[in-house]
């Protein structure tokens, strides 16, 4: 596969050349089939939950250890968590993301969540095995090769230990977070993981509020990451869960909020419908704060290119992407990727759009 010429990509808003009816876009059989596939999952309503204030490692730039949430008490009562999950179901939540600081430290609580809410994902550093009885997707964070992980995360032999814990585990997706300093290591790590048959997706380091350290992306690093992502996707299409459009929107000089008007409560005062209405981010004491609610609280919104944020933000912008077949194909690839990365049992199809297209327009 030829890597698209990225110099042709303009960092500008783009208007469709003609007005397409939605029905005409869907008249393409491949588009129609993919649309019918992904729309079956429009019932997903997400919220996120910090499971523990503790972590077995400490990574530079970790958003969890920013802000007030790290100081809340831990509710370790399984029955309280069961009641929370039942209440969440009652208000329409169908998908849970168990995150900060390290959910693998509280497997009993994760199991209670799974018993009550069967769809979800756990974000973990992968150094502690999560029992198979918890059937959620497992996202294992990778921040470079083992030398870089030792330096940034203070843990030795991370990749080897992560692979050992989740070898041939169908729940596992390895999430490679690009920083300006680990771009050249991505191929080496992707090769290692691919040889193990592991699934890989990509994330972008998104600076916590006030962070101005070396991991914050620059225009040059964004461009280099985009090229690397697209190259790795072309090289490992069976193992890398991604699309060219994922690469474009997550490496754009404008962050996700500027590109798409983030609908999470933290940035969206409307409570009419969608994430602004239903999304909550629970702390370890089971409290939540609308003003801080998004999937990566205490991240600087203007620098947010986080994969979890994009999964909701870009996916929710169906209306904006239904402008022409090219843009809609790109959006369908993004949604197909999101579902494959986050939902157990969802199989990603081949990407429909192999070019590189800019987002349809920027936020007002």
């Amino acid at each position: 596969m030829t890597v698209p010429n990225l110099k042709d990509v303009q960092e500008t808003c783009r208007a469709p050349q003609r007005h397409w009816k939605f029905a005409d876009i869907l008249a393409d059989p491949s588009i129609h089939a993919r649309w019918e596939k992904v729309r079956q999952y429009f019932f997903l309503r997400e919220s996120t939950y910090d499971m523990s204030c503790r972590c077995n490692i400490r990574c530079e730039g970790c958003y969890y250890f920013e802000g007030a949430k790290q100081y809340t008490s831990e509710n370790r009562d399984p029955e309280a968590w069961r009641q929370l999950m039942q209440a969440e179901k009652d208000r329409g939540v169908t998908f849970v993301v168990l995150a900060g600081a390290e959910p693998a430290l509280v497997p009993d609580l994760c199991k209670v969540c799974f018993e009550e809410m069967p769809l979800g994902t756990i974000a973990t550093n992968g150094l502690i095995h999560i029992p198979e009885t918890i059937g959620y997707r497992i996202h294992i964070s990778v921040w470079g090769n083992d030398a870089t992980s030792q330096h940034i995360r203070g843990a030795a032999d991370m990749l080897i230990r992560q692979i050992d814990n989740y070898r041939n585990d169908p729940r596992a997706v390895f999430v490679y977070t690009f920083t300006p300093t680990n771009i050249d290591e991505a191929r080496e790590v992707t090769e290692i993981l691919s040889r193990q048959g592991a699934k890989i997706t990509f994330n972008m380091f998104s600076a916590p509020v006030g962070y101005d350290g070396p991991l914050k992306h620059t225009p040059a690093s964004l461009a280099k990451v985009r090229e690397t992502m697209i190259d790795l996707l072309a090289s490992y299409p069976e193992q890398v869960l991604f699309s060219n459009y994922n690469a474009v929107v997550h490496t754009h000089q404008l962050g996700l909020d500027a590109l798409f008007a983030c609908p999470y409560p933290r940035r969206n005062p409307s409570q009419n419908i969608g994430l602004g209405r239903s999304f909550r981010q629970y702390r370890t004491d089971l409290s939540w704060d609308r003003d801080a609610s998004c999937c990566v609280p205490d991240t600087d919104c203007s620098d947010c290119r986080h994969y979890a944020a994009g999964s909701a933000i870009v996916t929710s912008k169906l209306f904006r992407h239904a402008t022409d077949p090219e843009t809609f194909r790109a959006w369908l690839d993004y949604v197909d990727t999101y579902l494959a990365v986050w939902v157990t049992g969802y199989e990603k199809g081949a990407n429909l759009y192999t070019g590189v297209t800019e987002p349809p327009c920027c936020a007002p």
Binding site: K21, F22, F42, G92, S270, N272, I273, G274, L275, F319
Partner: protein
């Protein structure tokens, strides 16, 4: 193709699209309560509403503003929005 322009006819058409696209059961276009809250009482989400808006755009040859459709949370509100667009 001529389209409905009377608000009462538009209400029926919106209900029809809603039932078809969201696969709603136990309701017909004429029995659909136009003031029922689609979010609170039927449980539709922004993706559902966007889908319905796209189909209605095609049918009426109008444009929904991306910022507007999330506020159209009843069939009557959607019909009034369409009627206003057709009249303008």
């Amino acid at each position: 193709m001529s389209v409905e322009t009377k608000e009462s006819d538009i209400i029926v058409r919106v209900a029809e699209v809603m039932i078809e696209e969201l696969k709603l059961e136990d309701v017909t276009p004429t029995s659909f309560e136009p003031d029922i809250d689609l979010v609170d009482e039927i449980g539709i989400d922004s993706m559902d509403l966007a889908t319905v808006a796209l189909v209605l755009q095609d049918h009426y040859g109008i444009r929904f503003d991306e910022d507007d459709y999330p506020t159209l949370t009843t069939v009557r509100k959607i019909a009034a929005y369409i009627a206003a667009r057709l009249a303008s």
